[in-house]
């Protein structure tokens, strides 16, 4: 059993597990931090950006970094299945399913598929509506890259940076997705069973159990114990794992999500009261539902009832609508609302009362209905593309306005870099509901895996806070760290496999008790293996040989495979054996004692029998009937295995 680690990013993992002749990819996250190396893509012509001193002709194409060009590590076309844990961890799917010869199946829950599709659609839309006249790729050449100014010069593996995929590729990739429900058991080739479990992080997010009858691997990715909107995490099913692969812990171990939410609200209210606008760069699904719910309760108390809230994204409407129809995947509170029937999320009411409005982009209706001061939720959180770029240009110069970062994926200072100097206030309230180190060590204590595998980042404190030994995993035995491109041999040996004995054979077995409570039976059977399932059947009786005159022909028949003689155990008791011999007419026996046992001399037959604790030796002349008799007598006293 091996684990190939294709991503070094702990929250956007991509690992490949080889287990019982199946090759399973666990997530394929797309690390988009590389876009921070590029200039923003403005929606309207920006004189400032276009006048920036360029290094020769600056390359404006936004590239996304692909998880890893893994061709050297393993052939991606051999992957049988891809298991997706949440919609953030599937963004690289088109790169893998479309260009590597992948022919397998992708498993994901329905919300993961639908919202993942929305997020991909959004990125593609952001890219395609600002087409670039030219794009450069030559700079990726090592020689040229060396001459580029930093930090581009120091960027590693730029050759893995890829252009964004197209909608066609997205559709094709997503058509390979097979939907699964929580705790559904999916058989892979009869060899392995995989099953998603609720992970509590986002709508439809899951951890995965990969198991056979005797081995169990748990894959924990992006889990949360906080009570936000998704169904709570299923912890008990992770118990008894041989190996637990742990990824997707919080990226902000020191930031308390509740505190950050409070800070978010107070900063928002302060800015609005002062007459400024609030910009919230965010993804179109996930934490935004919680932000809206929090604001729903906060609006009245903070007397923000008249402030317009805008949600601008090509998928804004879909995201808000979809969130309302996944009742099965929501926490208990929200589920009960559906029974009333009421929409599970309060943003339905915000929309109904016109407090929240959503638009596909800043063009069209929005430009005429737009009122200030207002709150705008829009993407992309990297500030490099999407409608957020326009608002940065529009509001950046006024100190009345505030930008509040809530997504933890990008460093806010790097994100803001191309917009400097900036008069606008910046507030950083990253909300990351994933497990923190305290929660994870409690969880691991609870579920007791034999081995833990995790990214190496989790085995040491963060670089900036090297004294915080509480911000790392401390386990006994220590976790097995992995880094990008490492291949781990997972430490367990398979010793047993499940077979099924057919009723006919089972009925023919003769068990004998060896010790109290322990019985044995010798089994001779024909093994049938189909779809990695093994069954044992009775050995078919050889067809009766037709009485043939030509004896030679009979001799040519292949020898019938006979069951081998069983192993023997036990000892032959002297007195009882002598009595038995007597019964069978062998009376003249001379017994001689030796160091290890006895030698019996059967004088009439000129035969010796050597009886010892762990062996019996019969020495006689060429007298087959006698030997057979003696053999059978000895066997009476022994156990056969």
């Amino acid at each position: 059993m091996k684990l190939y680690c294709l991503s070094g990013h702990p929250t956007l993992p991509c690992n490949v597990l080889k287990f019982k002749s199946t090759t399973i990819m666990l997530d394929c996250g797309l690390d988009t931090t590389s876009v921070l190396n590029f200039l923003p893509l403005p929606l309207v012509h920006s004189p400032r950006l276009s006048k920036l001193p360029g290094w020769i002709s600056k390359d404006g194409t936004i590239n996304l970094e692909k998880v890893l060009d893994a061709r050297e590590l393993l052939d991606l076309s051999t992957i049988d299945v891809i298991l997706i844990s949440n919609y953030h961890c599937m963004m690289a799917l088109p790169y893998i399913t479309e260009h590597t010869g992948f022919t397998g199946t992708v498993y994901a829950t329905e919300p993961t598929l639908q919202i993942g599709r929305l997020l991909m659609e959004e990125v593609v839309n952001f890219m395609e509506r600002v087409p670039k006249a030219q794009s450069a790729t030559c700079w990726k050449n090592k020689e040229i890259q060396r001459m580029l100014p930093g930090p581009l010069k120091d960027a590693v593996d730029v050759w893995t940076w890829k252009r964004c995929y197209s909608m066609q590729e997205v559709n094709s990739a997503l058509s390979k997705v097979q939907l699964v429900g929580y705790s559904q058991k999916v058989e892979l080739f009869g060899a392995v069973q995989v099953s998603p479990l609720s992970s509590g992080y986002s709508l439809g997010s899951s951890n995965w159990i990969i198991q056979s009858h005797h081995e169990k691997v748990s894959y924990v990715s992006g889990s949360s114990l906080l009570t936000t909107h998704p169904q709570p995490m299923d912890q008990s099913s992770l118990k008894n794992s041989d190996v637990l692969i742990l990824t997707g812990l919080t990226q902000m171990p020191t930031a308390n999500p509740d505190g950050m939410l409070g800070e978010f609200c107070s900063n928002l209210a302060m800015t609005i009261r002062a007459g400024g606008n609030v910009l919230v760069p965010c993804y179109s699904s996930g934490v935004i539902y919680d932000l809206l719910e929090c604001l729903y309760q906060f609006i009245e108390s903070a007397s923000l009832g008249t402030t317009p809230f805008y949600f601008i994204s090509p998928v804004a409407n879909s995201s808000l609508e979809f969130s309302q129809i996944f009742a099965e995947w929501l926490c208990h509170n929200k589920q009960t609302k559906v029974y009333l029937p009421e929409p599970p999320f309060p943003h339905a009411e915000l929309i109904q009362t016109n407090k929240l409005k959503h638009y596909p982009s800043i063009h069209g209706d929005f430009s005429s209905e737009f009122r200030q001061p207002c709150v705008v939720f829009t993407g992309h959180p990297s500030l490099r593309f999407g409608d957020v770029v326009h608002f940065m240009e529009l509001w950046g110069k006024s100190s009345l306005n505030t930008i509040i970062f809530t997504e933890p994926d990008f460093s806010y200072l790097d994100a803001l870099a191309p917009y400097q100097p900036l008069a606008m206030k910046c507030v950083y309230c990253p909300i990351d509901t994933r497990l923190n180190f305290h929660q994870v060590s409690k969880l691991l204590k609870e579920v007791q895996p034999l081995h833990v595998v995790c990214p190496e980042q989790y085995t040491q404190p963060p670089l900036t806070q090297s004294h915080r030994s509480d911000l790392m995993l401390e386990l006994q035995p220590p976790p097995m760290p992995y880094r990008r491109c490492s291949v781990l041999n997972l430490p367990f040996r398979r010793r047993y496999e499940r077979v099924y004995i057919l009723p006919e054979l089972a009925n023919s077995l003769v068990p004998s008790e060896i010790k109290p409570g322990v019985s044995v039976a010798t089994v001779s059977a024909v093994v049938h293996s189909k779809d990695n399932k093994h069954t044992l059947q009775s050995v078919p009786k050889p067809p009766p040989v037709a009485p043939s005159k030509k004896r030679k022909r009979v001799m040519d028949e292949p020898p019938v495979v006979l069951a081998p003689k069983p192993l023997l155990s036990g000892a032959v008791p002297l007195e009882a054996f002598l009595a038995t011999l007597q019964k069978h007419g062998i009376t003249e026996v001379k017994v001689e004692e030796t160091a290890d046992g006895h030698i019996l001399h059967l004088q009439a037959e000129d035969t010796l029998i050597q009886l010892e604790e762990d062996g019996t030796h019969i020495v006689c002349d060429n007298n087959e009937p006698l030997r057979t008799t003696l053999r059978d007598l000895v066997l009476r006293f022994l156990q056969k295995l």
């Binding site: 429900g181 705790s183 559904q184 589920q335 559906v338 099924y500 089994v523 050995v539 155990s569 030796h617």
Partner: protein, 632 residues
């Protein structure tokens, strides 16, 4: 032999009050818990005294599973859990859990408030009953306890309807309501090839093979349109939830396309709520509705408006959806009475009608209805009166009992099977998919069942049962025994067989099965000895062969060696440096007696485990004689 027992308490060779007991692998499961629309007495509910004469059912049932929200499948649930007594888990899907209490409450109101029955379950009982419900997700494998597991599949009958796969060890049963073969349009529709021991299916439409859905839809629209054109009124009796929504969508789009002005009304107060459920559970509807729901929610109707009782007397054409669906009570019956006398009008029955209901009568061509039945009259009156006057109404009912109301049915009666009960074709298709070992039919009329039973037995050559209520069908199963085999042993046998299985050469394996506590382990004999801490007992045989040979001992041995080599082709023969010759695992030694150096003794030694095919005694002892001959 392990066996599975299936006993219907209701719906055995009958339609209505579905309730089937299954005992499998020591577990008892109740499938559905419905009421009968055709009765108002004790026969309304299944006979739970079959399970136990006195006391609660909790100890006798491991779980209850409800397939969908129709009252003939869940109507007796509060009675069973709160009045008879059951505290175990009740499983149903989310939409069923949402809608079922509303229908139960509605049913309760009609029975208690309007018909004035006492000794019926209360609103609180419905609430308490629903607290025992555990919601099921599609395809989720739910572990009821360590051994019993259930899994729900999409059935597409009505919103939230499910097939259930019940499994204990290697035995399994699949229970399906009415599988809608059009369910395939849904992403996760249809069952996998799970090869259950028994497939229990409804057979309401056992003899019908319906034409395509599209044809029926077109036919339906044509009839409605014609009636509207000639100024008639169309009554469509429906149940509040289910097909009603589908027909609404159909009419709504037709009205839009044809630009029709005639009003469409939906009579029940539930409408808006019901449509809201459909909006929230859109993942349970069909693919087409799901795909477009963001742009336009199909359940927001422009042309369909709420109905008021006074509208029934309005002149001009109109279409009214009214509840309930079998014309046995309520608003639909009231409107029917008003419109029945005019031949321009039409009533379209979109679903099955249970015997004893007006719906059933008019479908059978009855044109004169005697409205004198006690229950019917009391009902009609209580509807005619406001709630405050119920008691007066009851009094009047007694008076009216002696009257005979005769109703001439002049309006057109049309029957359109939109109800998504399984028809013969759907059932056959399901059998083909799931490949059950036995088939069991419930929820259908005996005659029709008999026909389908014959058809199934003929086409699939599997046994088909159709027990009556209280009758038990028993199926013996023959499960194979799961065993843990040591991987070494399995791999050894696999290697012997070569990489590809050879049909001519069966791969045999030999091992020892260790039965300890509850575990069964199959290991090689050597490993079994080791694991059980036993010593091996060696059993050896030695055979002495006398022969005359003048050579020295080593030379004799060598001569034997070369001779054996030439005679025994295909055997491994080794001459070992310690002065022995090995033929496979048989050891040959030579010794000479002290007196006569020519008289040699050949010692052949082998262990008990030596395989027979090189049986040493016969072949090698001949060697001695041969050798004697050689020398001469």
């Amino acid at each position: 032999m392990p066996e599975i027992n299936v006993t219907p308490l209701g719906a055995g060779q009958d339609v209505g009050r579905s309730c089937i007991l299954v005992s499998i692998g020591g577990k008892n499961i109740m499938l559905d818990c419905g009421m009968h629309m055709g009765y108002n007495d004790d026969r309304r509910f299944p006979d739970f005294s079959y399970i136990t004469q006195n006391g609660r059912l909790t100890d006798f049932l491991d779980c209850v599973i409800i397939s969908h929200f129709h009252l003939d499948h869940c109507g007796a649930l509060p009675y069973m859990s709160e009045m008879v007594g059951y505290d175990g888990p009740i499983y149903m899907t989310h939409p069923t859990k949402a809608i079922c209490p509303i229908l139960l409450e509605d049913f309760r109101k009609i029975t208690v408030d309007k018909k004035g029955e006492t000794n019926f379950f209360t609103s609180q009982m419905i609430k308490d009953c629903m607290k025992k419900v555990v919601p099921l997700n599609l395809h989720q494998t739910v572990q009821v306890d360590d051994e019993l597991e259930i899994k729900a599949y999409y059935a597409g009958h009505v919103l939230g309807a499910a097939m259930v796969h019940i499994k204990v060890g290697s035995e399994s049963v699949v229970y399906t309501v009415s599988v809608n073969k059009y369910a395939k349009s849904h992403i996760s529709a249809w069952i996998d090839k799970c090869r259950p021991d028994i497939l229990i299916s409804e057979s309401t439409y056992a003899t019908t093979i319906r034409d395509s859905k599209r044809c029926r839809e077109r036919d339906f629209l044509k009839k409605v349109h014609e009636t509207i054109e000639r100024g008639g009124k169309v009554l469509i009796p429906v149940f509040a939830l289910g097909r009603a929504q589908e027909l609404c969508i159909l009419l709504e789009t037709f009205w839009e396309r044809m630009n029709l002005k005639a009003p469409i009304y939906f009579s029940t107060g539930l409408t808006e709520k019901a449509n809201h459920y459909y909006k929230l559970f859109i993942t349970w509807t069909n693919q087409k509705i799901r795909k477009t729901f963001v742009q336009r929610n199909m359940f927001e109707f422009k042309h369909i408006k709420a109905f008021d009782r006074s509208y029934a007397d309005n002149p001009g054409p109109m279409v009214v959806f009214a509840t309930p669906g079998m014309l046995h009570a309520g608003q639909s019956l009231q409107i029917f009475k008003k419109w029945a006398g005019n031949e321009k009008n039409m009533v379209i029955m979109p679903g099955y009608c249970v015997q004893g209901t007006i719906g059933h009568k008019i479908l059978n061509g009855q044109r004169k209805l005697e409205m004198e039945g006690r229950a019917t009259v009391r009902l009609l009156i209580s509807f005619a009166l406001t709630k405050r006057l119920i008691h007066v109404g009851k009094l009047l009912a007694c008076v009216f009992c002696f009257h005979t109301l005769q109703l001439d049915v002049k309006l057109q009666v049309e029957y359109m099977s939109f109800s998504a009960h399984a028809d013969a074709k759907g059932i056959m298709q399901l059998i083909r998919m799931a490949e059950p070992r036995n088939m069991l039919l419930v929820h259908g009329e005996a005659v029709k069942m008999e026909f389908l039973k014959g058809k199934i037995e003929q086409e699939f050559s599997i046994d088909c049962y159709m027990p009556a209520n209280g009758e038990t069908a028993t199926v013996t199963t023959n499960p194979s025994v799961p065993v843990d085999i040591s991987l070494n042993l399995l791999k050894r046998e696999m290697a012997l067989g070569g990489p590809l299985p050879d049909p001519k050469k069966p791969r045999t394996m030999h091992g020892t099965l260790i039965m300890k506590e509850n575990s069964l382990k199959l290991v090689s004999s050597e490993q079994a000895l080791k694991e059980l801490g036993l010593n091996e007992h060696q059993l050896r045989f030695t055979c002495r062969v006398q022969l005359q040979d003048p050579h020295s001992d080593p030379d004799t041995l060598h001569r034997i060696y070369t001779h054996l080599k030439s005679v025994l082709k295909g055997y491994t023969i080794q001459h070992l440096p310690d002065g022995t010759v090995m033929v496979e695992s048989i050891v040959i030694k030579v010794s000479s007696s002290a007196e006569d150096t020519n008289a040699k003794v050949l010692l052949l030694s082998w262990s008990y485990q030596v395989k027979h095919r090189h049986c040493p005694c016969s072949r090698l002892s001949k060697l001695g004689q041969k050798h004697n001959r050689l020398k001469t």
